[in-house]
Symmetry: D2
Subunit: 270 residues, 4 copies
């Protein structure tokens, strides 16, 4: 089980959200609370937007808690929209290409969870990926494949529809090989403008997902952040900071859309 | 363009062939002579047989010339049959799963060369791999896929036939996407008993390949090796040691078989 | 706080002791029980003796639990005398030169614990190292410096005396800078023939240390090991295997000597 | 022999100088021209200033030419003052703490060259470092020690004087151990405001050093850079870009000072 965080708001140093708050993501990587796997020490990644058309990526197979580059980059890179991910796996190999976020053009994608018995139908799922996206698959995770299936199903034209089709397709192919509840996931997705998140489990029980409270509370969370924009939003696997009780749990089988209109939580079905 | 070496004979410390000789593989990794890519600094790997049923592997993405572990392991591991590979690439990502040798059960496989315009038909080639081998694909190279296609075509039952079918299949699918000369390769393959090598180019021009001279010369090559068995044989991309003029160039489109009957060089056609 | 294991006995595959037993060292690295630092994910190392005059070393900054090379090497390297170490630190940098064991000629050295407020007197301690050993210091840990101070005090001529002098010297210099209880340690040391271990704390409380029970129990511990020699001994930070209650805790301020005469536990004082 | 580049001017993406120009630093790392060591594949580092009080650092032991993080960071981080360094060594270990630039508070330091027979007097030089700086030494290079000796001799109060004293001291201690020409160096130093460079050899022959031509030429060099400030200056080990003949070689035993008053080249003596 992995952990991730996504932020959309006024530009902040990444360290203000991933390193400085109490129980931050790096801290979580070393002291996970109630996990199936106790430590997220199998690599990490950052993806951030700035004025460059495509987002930047920094990935490492070192545990996040002992990577000096991560500390420096998080203390120097400011961004209005970014994602961070710490990985734990007993499955795909530990290599940078298996670290999240995954990127395609202006898109970023992070995942927590898994496709059950992925090995049984990985090859079949790969054949479904449209050729124009296939060359962008660099690693061997279920997560990266889910991203490229969603792209194949039209992610660039409509996020909710493409994610729903991807989930449905994976469940269908899963059933063909005898897997009843194929998907267990939270997703974070961005095109550089909006931020989307999904919580879903084929059995109705996806991994936990939380959205930050309003701006007033977020400032309490990290007073050093300074003046965040009115619409600053943070989405996380596990709450961070000093006021964790005020974070809102996203219900099972839901999507979250964060854009200039604020935060919208909706039911998500395939 | 990569470089590799394979040895079959009496047990020797791996350093006796990959580190101590003049112009050894590590030296070649830093000072390639007439290569398309001037430095083989994109990772390396060792695969060796011992009394364990499956061969051991050591892979690293560090340049071979600055890896302290490599020096120690080569100085301490003795083997009667092993392969070493140094990698240079402008293509697939630098990660351990893309380093040679590749392994399946008791089999090892190294490759120098490439599939031309691999990206154009990688996905199609992947769909051809038999499901029982697909889960063993961990990286993203053309080389690893060639190995698993050869396995699919029956490598375990007959090496020459399976390699010929693999080459033919790749050339055919290549032609479908407009690639006339799809394959450029030398291969080293072993099941732990025999050693096979292939030199082939779809255009008739494969990368260079050499076989060591008889035992008398091989001792001259590395006097410190001590008493090698009568049937010791070394196959290399580029000659090593002090008597490089006595190494025998393998002709274009040939195979080499090394086993208890000695060395046999034959024509290789698809 | 780190974890280590040392073995002396009939040659065994290293995996038989560091990977296969229940609660083995790799498992401990991910699930430490009652530690100050909860995870030993800051690198690891193996040092082993064979017929080569100097021991081999394999070190990596990856967490032990996700290093594929470690699994392969432990499954292929057999040794009658070896040490393994998993590291956790909030102090010296994560780099291979800071991973244990440390080596000098035929000597190996592992340490668990620390010199309190090391930064305050590291420079002074370094000036005490004899010039003939100084060039062998490659990293920046207190552990490596303790080893080279022990060498300076004559480790090669007498282990107990040199370790006692090293401890005494560190405590003295510590007092000069206001540190009352400078040392907290268990040590594992070998010259390739004998194995020594020490448990000591300046305040009378060193880290835990255990010695394996007699051969009968050790076989129960790892039945797959097969025929161990009569004098097989394993020393560990924390018990491993299925019969942990039969491991013997080494008392505070003690040394253990393991050689052809068996195991001797003595009081250790400076 | 290493290679480095330092830039001071209007903020630019680091890629505009280290990746996009012809014969850029990354290209040099793979294809060094007339070097003693043919490839700068032993790690690299970036140090850059922004509005944060201390500079950021990114270091890696991977060859610069195959590090995906480097490409992304250089394409996303903009800076008005930065340094980049690619390393080649047959001496100190390949580890991040041995990669340049070195940092102390707001200072950065890069070095090309070496202290001759450094091992003979490294320990003595270390004892000279003032205790308040000693804890900042993390690696084992001659370069890092030169930086901390310069700090000890008052670098923060006067760069030329401190560097001169450092050089003189190293030469003196070198003579005590029989080394006549102890130092061979180019240095790049910054406090975040000014940029200094030095070319010096104890034997009168330091490594090559070049300063960029005026702004008109620099724009030709990298037209994509856009509007550089009038006072943009680039200092390099080897010229880069399309108009290499217009770069000015810095004479032997000289210093270069770059600040708001422009570029001043002076004689440098100890």
């Amino acid at each position: 089980m992995c952990r991730w965080l996504a932020y959309r708001g006024a530009p902040v140093l990444m360290e203000d959200l991933i390193i400085k708050p109490k129980d931050n993501l790096i801290h979580q990587s070393l002291h996970a609370r109630a996990p199936r796997t106790p430590t997220n020490g199998d690599g990490f990644g950052l993806g951030w937007y700035d004025k460059h058309p495509h987002p930047g990526l920094f990935k490492s197979i070192r545990p996040a808690w002992n990577d000096m580059n991560l500390l420096d980059l998080a203390a120097h890179i400011e961004s209005p929209l970014f994602m961070a991910h710490v990985r734990a796996t007993s499955m795909a190999t530990i290599q940078e290409t298996n670290c999240h976020p995954y990127r395609y053009k202006n898109w970023l994608f992070v995942h927590n969870g898994q496709i059950a018995s992925f090995g049984l139908f990985r090859q079949k799922l790969m054949t479904k990926v449209a050729p124009e996206f296939f060359g962008n698959i660099l690693g061997s995770t279920d997560s990266e494949l889910m991203f490229h299936l969603a792209l194949t199903f039209g992610l660039e034209k409509g996020v909710h529809g493409a994610v729903a089709q991807m989930v449905k397709y994976v469940e269908e192919v899963g059933k063909e090989v005898g897997i009843d509840s194929a998907i267990w996931m939270t997703l974070g997705i961005s095109d550089g403008e909006s931020l989307w998140a999904f919580r879903y489990g084929s059995d109705g029980k996806g991994p936990s997902l939380y959205v930050s409270p309003g701006i007033a509370e977020l400032v309490k969370l990290s007073p050093h952040v300074g003046k965040l924009g009115e619409d600053a939003v943070c989405i996380v696997s596990e709450p961070i900071g000093d006021y964790q009780h005020v974070w809102k749990a996203i219900p099972e089988n839901s999507s979250v859309t964060v854009n200039e209109n604020g935060v919208e939580v909706k039911s998500f079905t395939t």
